[in-house]
């Protein structure tokens, strides 16, 4: 490899990095602008309610069903491992803590990103491609305030509720498999769980995580839609970017938040 090709490759890499960093800055300015112009979304709340419907209610089925299955698998796998140490009565603890601390916010977040996030990106991108956003601008209506902000707040409000529903269904799934199917003692299942799961440390931290994930996923979804290249191919690429970037963001943020919340001194 000659020096010239090496230098060319490094230059391309540098340009790609700096364009990503620039894009994050651009997305941040967009977020700030949207937050400042959220008045319409809050004053005419029916706009936001419609978006809670499209992001939250229409995700219910996939969240509830996935939550149930994840909880059931936790019950199976958990029992399988715990009974080797004679600790099968702690199954409730394992299921509840796994869901409330991690799996609830993270898996619900990933499902939300792929179902609702991609739908939001596609919708906004399509409105851009068919000049509906320009038409709105021409009618002196700010499309960010009228179209983007309600979708953002709809997603942010829906996400914690979906994560809580996921965790609750998961616990129920774990109960179904552990107690009803396998025969772990119901009393032990619930009482050990209640003793080990702390409201503030575990449940509330899980809720905070889901709020952070909701903000991240919805922000990415509306930005990618608004910034999409206004062609069919551009919209499809933007939708893919939303799902990929949201998923990576959730997993990275999960690490950071877990390190902040669950390690070190607990009070």
């Amino acid at each position: 490899m000659s020096l010239a090709t090496l230098r060319a490759r490094i230059e391309r890499l540098g340009a790609a990095m700096s364009s990503h960093v620039w894009r994050i800055g651009y997305a941040s300015r967009f977020l700030f602008y949207m937050l400042v112009h959220s008045g319409t979304a809050l004053k005419r709340f029916h706009l936001t309610i419609a978006e809670i419907y499209f992001a939250g209610v229409l995700s219910l089925i996939i969240i509830l069903v996935s939550g149930l299955f994840v909880g059931m698998v936790l019950g199976l796998q958990g029992y399988e491992t715990l009974q080797r140490f004679g600790a099968s009565e702690s199954l409730g603890v394992l299921v509840a803590l796994s869901l409330v601390r991690e799996l609830g916010p993270v898996v619900a977040g990933l499902l939300f990103a792929s179902r609702a996030g991609s739908a939001i990106t596609a919708e906004i991108g399509l409105m851009k491609a068919t000049e509906q956003l320009s038409a709105m601008e021409m009618m002196a209506v700010d499309p960010v305030a009228r179209v983007v902000a309600p979708r953002f707040w709809g997603g942010v409000i829906s996400m914690p509720l979906l994560a809580a529903l996921f965790s609750a269904m998961g616990v129920f799934g774990g109960y179904l498999v552990g107690v009803q199917l396998i025969g772990v003692d119901a009393g032990a299942f619930w009482s050990q769980m209640q003793a080990a799961v702390d409201l503030r440390n575990d449940i509330l931290n899980g809720v905070y995580k889901s709020i952070v994930f909701g903000i991240a996923v919805t922000w990415i979804a509306v930005f990618e839609g608004y910034d999409a290249v206004p062609t069919a191919e551009g919209v499809s690429r933007a939708t893919t970017r939303t799902v990929v970037t949201s998923s990576l963001a959730i997993l990275a943020l999960d690490f950071v938040l877990t390190a902040l919340m669950f390690t070190g001194t607990e009070k």
Binding site: M127, T130, S134, M138, M139, A140, R146
Partner: protein, 269 residues
């Protein structure tokens, strides 16, 4: 005192990059009440010029004055105030697909507030009647044909009785009947509203039948201007080729290519 033209473009140049200008030294004046056509080949810069009139782009040189304001100097609020007096018909209508026809036309009325629902209802019916689609008020945009969608978009663009109506390629993809409908509506609405209309198009024959004045563009410059008759009989060769639809002329038929025999890999003659 003579009235200031509704649209005045003075010495405007524009380019997204400094090295490649899209518009060069454009001078244009549109009088109140006129229907003016801006015509030319695809890519000659006419849509960019329309965006400058809209205020969506600022000229890199020169001044664009619309409805008495220099568009480049307006802040967001001023721009929105100016646009409330304008209406724009986008190429394929750009109707909001999540709303019905009625709600589309009512949109500008509702967003710019203050009118009670009964008044809005009557106004929407009025506008739809003007374009002949009052019976379609409950339909959704996906249920409309191209021509009908275009007409609904037209009703929406005149919802607030604008002083200036802009048309971006209004005749694209229409069947002959819808064509005739739109042509008739452009003239009727302009006259009944006392408005001014600017039509960007490359549908020459039909446009020449409806406009009062034409600006002809090529490669970012205005190369001819005049009344429809003057344009039809223009000596300018490019205008001539365009108006008469000749396949070869100043705009050549063949895209630049190497020697034909060499491409076919034949020995040179």
């Amino acid at each position: 005192m003579p009235q200031e033209p509704i649209v005045e473009i003075r010495n405007v140049s524009f380019g997204y990059e400094a090295a490649r200008p899209v518009l060069r030294d454009i001078d244009l004046a549109i009088e109140r009440g006129a229907v003016v056509g801006i015509m030319g080949q695809s890519g000659c810069g006419k849509t960019t010029l329309l965006r400058i009139i809209m205020g969506a782009l600022a000229p890199t040189r020169g001044e664009a004055r619309v409805l008495g304001h220099a568009t480049a100097e307006l802040e967001r609020d001023g721009l929105y105030a100016m646009r409330r007096k304008m209406g724009m018909l986008f190429q394929f209508g750009a109707l909001f697909t999540d709303m019905s026809v009625f709600e589309n036309v009512a949109f500008p009325m509702r967003e710019h507030g203050g009118l009670p629902e009964e008044v809005i209802h009557d106004l929407v019916m009025l506008k739809l009647q003007a374009v002949g689609l009052r019976g379609a008020a409950h339909l959704r945009p996906t249920e409309l044909s191209g021509g009908m969608a275009r007409r609904v978009a037209l009703a929406r663009s005149i919802a607030l009785d604008p002083q200036l109506i802009l048309y971006d390629e209004p005749f694209t993809g229409l069947d002959p009947i819808s064509f005739g409908v739109i042509v008739r509506l452009i003239r009727e609405l302009n006259d009944s509203l006392g408005a001014t209309s600017v039509i960007v198009t490359h549908d020459v024959q039909e446009a020449l039948g409806v406009v009062d004045y034409v600006y002809f563009m090529a490669a970012g410059r205005v190369i001819a201007k005049g009344t429809p008759d003057e344009i039809r009989s223009s000596p300018e060769p490019f205008v001539n080729q365009f108006v008469n639809g000749k396949p070869d002329g100043p705009v050549p038929f063949h895209y630049p290519a190497p020697d034909y025999r060499a491409d076919l890999e034949l020995a040179p003659a």
